[in-house]
């Protein structure tokens, strides 16, 4: 449905092109600048470190291609992201990457890290396991130590030390990028942004891939355009999207929700609000700042891959729904995503207790047809619409 190549927001054309071919962008950037390209896995590795080392940090994305050769190295009962990454590695599509750095602990990602290392003997494949228990007395210090190790690994990779001033500058650049994207999100919540969910995904996904200065320049234009735009999008059921961590939801699915009468007003997707939720402190020393950021973002947008006695994802979602004046929530769960599967019942029960409409949609890398999903979404949105009308009457 959507095509970003319109005259209203020219920046979107660039974003869409990068989002649809992340490794192609990295290759062009490398050829143009001579910079090393550092691939990282979602969802917690700080690109600031790689940026400060003078490299291009790029978050490795799920490919749209069918998974074929990769199934010789990964079982079929793994999430689409993991299988896709292994598939890309088997097909030697990561040639542009000089190194890959992992920081997560989801068991499927750990498996992918091991497999990718075995498949890419020429690339440096580092793993820096961030502590996933967030509220222990040693959580902050452990996260800090891990970032120190990652910094040392990065320095070894580029053959020089990372200057504190450079890291501070990178933090400012990344913060600015997050702030610009968050501005778009604010406008969307207020109904003052005419971007579709697909377009918002391109904005965020391209930020994960592009040189941040380049992205910031395009974002400045986009924000100005949107602020000067035609005003609120009206009508439709206000939908909050939740879930989908490492990989972006299929744009076709986002289109479908909007075609069925939904207006996506907010989300906690990784290719969305989760990615840009939290700035790194510009006051704290570099590694302290990153450790603080790591803990803080789990409080701002709780992540089911973490355990945190100070965070409740379900309560967070209910609060965000209220803030966005959303009528309904659609949960997008990637098939085989264990962290999400563990946490979903907590959300389901909390939403049922509050009488907030929600719908679980399980997604796959291999989405054959969206039509069965269309029927479910149409029905769900009709229920939500009637419930909203009922409340209005009451």
């Amino acid at each position: 449905m959507s095509n970003d190549m319109d005259d209203t927001h020219p920046s979107l054309t660039a974003f869409e092109q990068v989002a649809s071919d992340p490794l192609g962008y990295a290759q062009r950037h490398k050829e143009a600048t001579g910079r090393l390209v550092i691939g990282s896995f979602p969802m917690h590795f700080p690109g600031e470190l790689a940026h400060a080392a003078g490299t291009l940090p790029t978050i490795i994305q799920e490919s749209e291609d069918p998974i074929t050769a990769g199934h010789g190295m990964v079982h079929p009962f793994y999430c689409g992201y993991t299988r896709s990454v292994v598939d890309q590695a088997v097909k030697e599509e990561f040639g542009v990457l000089d190194a890959i750095m992992f920081g997560d602990h989801c068991v499927q990602v750990l498996g992918a890290a091991d497999t990718v290392r075995s498949l890419l003997p020429k690339a440096k494949v580092h793993f820096y396991q961030l502590i996933s228990s967030m509220s222990d007395p040693w959580s902050f210090e452990r996260a800090r130590e891990t970032f120190v190790q990652a910094r040392e690994g990065m320095e070894e990779l580029v053959g020089r030390s990372i200057d504190d001033a450079d890291l501070a500058a990178s933090v400012r650049t990344f913060n600015h990028n997050r702030q610009l994207i968050r501005r778009i999100y604010e406008l969307r919540r207020e109904g003052l942004c005419d971007l579709t969910a697909r377009q918002l995904q391109h904005v965020v996904k391209s930020s994960m891939v592009m040189d941040k200065d380049e992205h910031n320049a395009l974002m400045e234009t986009l924000v100005a355009d949107v602020e000067a735009g035609e005003g609120p999008r009206t009508g439709g059921v206000r939908v909050y999207l939740s879930g989908h961590f490492c990989q972006a939801p299929k744009p076709e699915l986002l289109d479908l929700i909007e075609e069925c009468g939904g207006v996506v007003v907010d989300d906690d997707l990784y290719h969305g609000q989760r990615y840009i939720s939290t700035d790194v402190s510009e006051e704290l020393e570099g590694m302290d700042g990153l450790a603080h950021w790591y803990q803080e973002r789990n409080l701002r947008v709780p992540c089911p891959t973490r355990v945190d006695q100070n965070a409740d994802w379900e309560e967070h979602l209910l609060g965000q729904m209220e803030r966005a004046r959303a009528d309904a929530m659609i949960v997008l769960m990637a098939k085989f995503c264990e962290p999400h599967m563990y946490y979903y019942p907590e959300i389901k029960e909390a939403f049922e207790r509050r009488g907030v409409p929600h719908l679980l949609l399980e997604t796959e890398h291999e989405m054959g047809t969206f039509e069965p999903m269309r029927t479910r979404v149409e029905t769900f949105l009709e229920i939500a619409r009637r419930q909203r009308a009922g409340k209005a009457v009451a």
């Binding site: 075995s118 396991q129 996933s132 228990s133 264990e338």
Partner: protein, 482 residues
């Protein structure tokens, strides 16, 4: 292929035995020589089970009986998963429920269904760890009743099983899961399920990855750092237990327990090494049956006595030339976790193929196998080392090296890769392992899906065809070599 085909029928259930009494129910741990219904036993080759394995039943019975009686005896109960931290609790006079052991026992009794149904009804997907689903399902059932105390809360939901009626609810949780993110999340969900009212202690166990050139098995800068980090957490856990119990921690008691544990671990490894003999006097299936005494049974003289007797029986078999199957033609390695409701079935299946599963990653690469690093007068660091090098916590290169060493030590012909559908921690490196043993050692491999405690993922005919293909491959290689 037909020359290899053996008789197969529906897997016999281990849970049929011993219903009605606590002792009987506990004795329902899968046996190694179950008869296959519908066929005269004389027509089948069966595994030659270690006689001393029967002694394991008493150890397990006594353990669960202590657990069931915990509340009546005024003892605190800890629910935990993952590595064998039970000595730490035992010293503090706390009873412990090991989630995997509990789920495996329910599966062995064919009593896992209601708990798994309860977890599914609450919304937990069937692709989640089946151990976790079963264990959390028990929590769901108890929460539905809203009962605070232990006892009858599990009873009607889990049917007539006496085990189900007796497992007490937790007074504390400890999460100490290596490698697998699911373990920590499983404990977190239990914590939330019980209303965040039961205190929880999280121990984070770093994955042994190896960024630096000096990384090696049991060594290197990163490993040393991980050992130190984990040891500090164990110390903090002990301090936390002092708060929970309101008593000073009895370190002398822990030293004593770890003395027995170390000795049991040493005897087990010595007995395992005797299986390099041909025919192998014991199999992977014997060692799975013997996991409990080095996993969750209390540390004390009985576990030392158990492995003393196991070793003696194995030594006698070596002397007498007796194997764990009637006719050993193939020696195999089992990679992956056990299919707990099919131990006996699989033991007999491979006996029918004249194939001994001599060793396995699950049994031979964990459970106090690095016993010599334990200083019984200061055991936490040695315990941490053992936790860090458990069967799933080594990254691929280190793990593959260890598997290759075992394959050479035990003169392995082929590797069975049991891809436990819901245990991705074990399934993760299996393609790398298969490739490595094939390239380095020229071994044949067979891969099939199964699961720890969810029957639905096991497809027997697929297992047959893949194992038979592997064995034919081994035969073909032998012919070429000849």
């Amino acid at each position: 292929m037909s020359t290899l085909r053996v008789d197969h029928t529906t897997p016999s259930g281990a849970g049929a035995a011993g219903a009605g009494t606590l002792a009987g129910a506990l004795s329902a741990t899968p046996g190694l020589a179950e008869a296959v219904p519908g066929l005269p036993t004389s027509e089948l080759k069966k595994a030659n089970r270690l006689q001393t394995s029967a002694l394991n039943n008493k150890l397990v019975n006594d353990y669960w009986t202590d657990v069931f009686n915990a509340k009546e005896e005024g003892k605190l109960v800890c629910w935990y998963e993952g590595v064998a931290i039970n000595p730490i609790m035992q010293a503090a006079d706390i009873r412990w429920v090991h989630g995997e052991a509990w789920s495996a026992l329910l599966a062995a009794r064919k009593n896992e269904g209601p708990a798994q149904d309860a977890s599914e009804e609450r919304g937990y997907g069937a692709e989640l760890c089946s151990y976790a689903r079963t264990h959390i399902g028990c929590g769901v059932l108890s929460q539905k009743r809203g009962k605070e105390a232990s006892g009858a809360s599990f009873a009607d939901a889990l049917g007539a099983g006496t085990l189900a009626e007796n497992v007490p609810e937790p007074d504390l949780f400890i999460s100490a899961y290596p490698y697998c993110s699911t373990g920590q999340q499983w404990d977190e969900m239990l914590y939330r399920l019980f209303g965040k009212k039961v205190p929880i202690f999280n121990i984070s166990i770093p994955w042994v990855w190896g960024n630096k050139p000096d990384a090696r098995f049991l060594g290197g800068e990163e490993f040393e750092e991980a050992v130190t980090f984990l040891t500090k957490q164990l110390e903090a856990c002990v301090a936390w237990l002092e708060e929970i119990t309101g008593k000073p921690y009895p370190w002398d008691r822990l030293y004593e327990i770890m003395g027995y544990t170390k000795e049991a671990g040493q005897l087990r490894m010595e007995a395992m090494k005797l299986c390099s003999a041909r025919p192998s006097p014991a199999s992977f299936f014997d060692w799975t049956t013997s996991i409990a005494p080095v996993n969750f049974v209390p540390g004390g003289p009985p576990i030392v006595d158990y492995f003393t007797q196991v070793k003696a029986e194995i030594q006698q078999r070596v002397t007498d030339g007796v194997g764990s199957i009637p006719n050993e033609r193939y020696r195999l390695f089992w990679d992956g976790i056990m299919n707990w409701n099919k131990i006996g079935w699989l033991a007999n299946k491979f006996a029918g193929y004249d194939a001994t599963i001599v060793a396995g990653r699950y049994t031979h690469m964990g459970f106090w196998h690095i016993h010599d690093v334990i200083d019984v007068q200061d055991p936490l660091r040695g315990m941490a080392i053992n936790y860090l090098v458990c069967p799933i916590n080594l990254s691929g290169p280190l793990m593959i090296d260890e598997i290759c060493k075992l394959s050479e030590e035990y003169e392995i012909d082929g590797v069975v890769l049991h891809a436990a559908r819901t245990c991705r921690a074990f399934s993760n490196p299996q393609f790398m392992i298969g490739n490595a043993v094939s390239k380095r050692l020229g071994l044949a491999t067979a891969s099939f899906e199964g699961d720890m405690v969810d029957d639905a993922f096991y497809k027997d005919e697929l297992v047959n065809s893949r194992v038979e293909a592997m064995l034919e491959g081994i035969d073909a290689r032998r012919l070429v070599r000849a």
